[in-house]
Subunit: 196 residues, 2 copies
């Protein structure tokens, strides 16, 4: 009798292959055949786990989100107990920015996914909820007034820095300087409001 | 004798076809054959004007940049003489954000281009200079201190808002509220610095 196959393990093996193809050659290279070659399995096997390209993309994006979550958790744990809101936000955002080779690979997949879903909104189902959760968390750390608007701005700034880092438009120094300038004015504006 | 063909006109016809394919089906659908079908010409004709996919992509991005520039110029002209820096920045940024069907099409092409060049940095040659020019212009309009950091943050925020609008993560209202909150704190922080 054949050995029982660990479904999750094989799915992850295929997803890892998909990530490598997408990171190296971009989204248009992601096909059943390419991913199968990279994973060393048959195209039929890939199709057994992912029926469509949408499913492959969504699963890869889940992997990226889980890795980002792990990076954030690890960065926060290094801050010690009761970190200041500003330090917490800075640690979270720098943990997600594509500043290391590993996070650049994930960033390229995330950018490919964004470009893919911009023309196929159905494939992005579930991402919206993530964004709203992140916004709520950030808003809770920011000083008032207008926490929601500021959180939406900070999240967009984070995304834009990621895009510009991946494209080589900003250096790491430029991106971190922009982030620090942003945190300066967000927290300075609250000082001003309090002083009034 | 055959009529003289207007090279620029035909190139633009092909580029428009490329834009429609990329906006409708995403980057992975952009091939010589697809673009030729859409333009109603032969694949050989497309290849005569664009030897490689890199060349097609770079030209499409040039078209998007020119259209964005025209939108910005038009938005600024509506502000009257000597607009305040804040009003000028707001008009420029909202003119570029994908808030209309026309600018959404261009936005999808720009996003596809970003994803494409994130794995092929050579295809992005020339874009870096554009970014630096835009940063310099924005920095000149922002109140000090740390104009460079704030300009880099504002440009990244603009890019992130565009990405989130295209992906449906933010509504138009959310994006504009984030932009206004950003302009609030950028200009409020300068009030604070002056008050000290």
């Amino acid at each position: 009798m054949p050995k029982k196959v660990d479904r999750h393990e094989r799915r992850t093996l295929i997803a890892d292959a998909l990530m490598r193809v997408a990171a190296r050659q971009g989204m248009e290279a992601v096909s059943l055949r390419h991913v199968a070659n990279e994973a060393g399995v048959s195209p039929g096997m890939v199709q057994h786990y992912f029926r469509t390209k949408d499913e492959m993309m969504a699963f890869a994006m889940t992997v990226v989100r889980e890795r980002n979550q792990a990076r954030v958790t690890e960065a926060i744990s290094r801050l010690g107990e009761q970190p200041a809101p500003r330090a917490l936000l800075r640690a979270m955002i720098t943990a997600v920015l594509p500043l290391t080779e590993e996070s650049r690979i994930d960033g390229r997949v995330a950018l490919a996914f964004l470009a893919y879903t911009a023309v196929r909104p159905d494939a992005a189902a579930g991402i919206g909820a993530d964004t709203q959760q992140m916004l709520g968390f950030m808003a809770g750390l920011l000083p008032g007034p207008d926490r929601d608007g500021r959180a939406a701005g900070l999240l967009a700034l984070m995304e834009g820095l990621g895009v510009y880092l991946l494209g080589g438009h900003y250096t790491a120094e430029q991106a971190l300087a922009a982030l620090d300038a942003q945190l300066d004015i967000v927290f300075a504006a609250s000082d001003l409001a309090e002083a009034r």
